[in-house]
Amino acid sequence: MKKTKRRLLYQFIVLTLIGIVILPFSLYISVVIIPTIFPNFTELKSRYVITFLLFFGICLIYLIISFYFFMRIRRRIVHLQKSMQLENDRTELEPIEISQDDEIGELEESFNEMVQKLNESYQKELDEEKLRRTLIANLSHDLKTPLTAMRAQMSSFDQNEYAKEVRTMNNNIDDISHLIDSLLAFSLLSANKHPYEEENINLSRHLRSYIANWYLVFEEEGFTVDVDIQNEDIKISTDINMINRLLNNIVQNVLRHAHDGKYIKFELNNQAIIISDKGRGLSEDSKGSGAGIGLKIMDLLAEKLGFNLNFKEDSGLVVTINFDE
């Protein structure tokens, strides 16, 4: 183990020794030497005054030096502390310059070593995440390609004679495709180590823009859209991307499993976002178990957000996202 630096310790010892020596010495000078040099000041009172002033002056100078010594150290400690703070948008710490070759310098060195380890670990996480995404993209491609090829083959069937069979096969191909999407999304989500990043947002405004973005799709599918934002100024602190993913999942669920209802309603109040449709609800086994995975994904997202997710049936499915703890 490296020998710990002792420069600060020595400086402190020197300062103390100076104090121990100088203070009594200055007292001695004031009391003994001054009257000898200035014999005129024999008057007791003025002698006491000068003695006191001299002594006091030297103490003051000593105090200033000590204070300066202390402040220099404090400044370096504060600088170190500031370097340790992570601003909200930075995820990597930067190493700092070693200020001096002493005890605090060693502290700074240790800090730099830790910064390096942290950055390496974070980089490793990013690399892992990237690898996972690549694997999943490849998997998705490998699964969907034969499906597409099947669709291609089916186009060469005699449409008149086998119309019903072709239609059924097409529906099955769609179902498998959606199931693959859900499974892969779920797999990514449950392994996701990405930190939940909070931001302050105006939820009323955000929801409105969100609905505006999806509106064209609703229109294309012949849906009626109802919007009831009860308060224009609902503010929350949350991860925007995650909330969007949760909403995306709910909306896609409505488009896929409640399509016949041709209706979607968005409600926002101080406690919750409520999305309702006029589909067949949860009870009917609509389109197989694709809906099951979809719900599981919603649960997972809501959990990460710290929100409470609730499903109810009332002329359709009603999903309540409760964000008010």
Binding site: A137, S140, K144, D174, S204, S209, A212
Partner: protein, 225 residues
């Protein structure tokens, strides 16, 4: 006769798409890798790219083509079905189809993109909407029927043009406010409603039944072209 550049490495899918597109009256150049795609893109009116390609990755090829020929319609074909992935892809592509897609959908999207592109050339100078002629560069709006200019205030013009620039999209009052006034929208501000009302009174035949500026209840406004 639409000329399509199609890049797909899978033979079964490629043969199918090529055959169907040719059957519907297009000329198709089918490449199995992205290597020559950027150079061949010049001679074709529309490009269809598979995202997963051997060699140079489809996304990269797509970005290069878009950088070189910004106005050339580009459709990306992908296996990833999540909305978030589509949003990332649409960053530069004009459309994004998930595999397994249906041929009808592909052909419909091609036609729509080609139609939109044809209109795009014209729209840089003048837009016709209902009974209005809007000159974008001169910032003037004329009534088609009597050739009279409709005088709008600076803010009304800005609002109207912002809606036109983002035609067919629904814009929330926050988006309109911030684009036109260049400051943050404060909740409860009613000035947008007022301006739109005045705007309607000037440009619509019947401002209580607006045909040009549509209100989407609870969300925002839209101009449809």
């Amino acid at each position: 006769m639409i000329s399509v550049l199609y890049v797909e490495d899978n033979v079964e899918i490629g043969e199918w798409v090529e055959r169907e597109l040719v059957d519907s009256g297009m000329t198709v150049t089918w490449l199995k890798s992205g290597d020559e795609a950027v150079s061949l893109a010049e001679n074709h009116e529309l490009v269809i790219l598979d995202v997963m390609l051997p060699g140079i990755d489809g996304f990269t090829v797509g970005q290069r083509i878009k950088n070189k020929y910004a106005d050339k319609p580009l459709i990306m074909l992908t296996a990833l079905g999540a909305v978030e992935d589509k949003v990332q892809g649409l960053g530069f592509a004009d459309d994004y189809l998930t595999k397994p897609f249906s041929m009808e959908e592909l052909i419909a999207r091609i036609n729509m993109l080609m139609r939109r592109q044809g209109q795009g050339q014209r729209q840089n100078e003048m837009i016709e909407i209902e009974h209005l002629k809007v000159y974008l560069n001169e910032h003037q709006v004329f009534d088609d029927r009597n050739d009279e200019e409709i005088r709008l205030t600076a803010k009304e013009l800005k609002i109207f043009f912002f809606l036109l620039e983002n035609k067919n999209q629904i814009l929330t009052k926050e988006q309109i406010y911030e684009a036109v006034w260049n400051e943050s929208y404060i909740a409860g501000d009613k000035s947008i409603n007022v301006h739109i009302r005045h705007l309607r009174e000037k440009i619509e035949d019947d401002s209580s039944q607006p045909k040009i500026i549509e209100t989407i209840r609870g969300i925002g406004y839209r101009v449809r072209l």
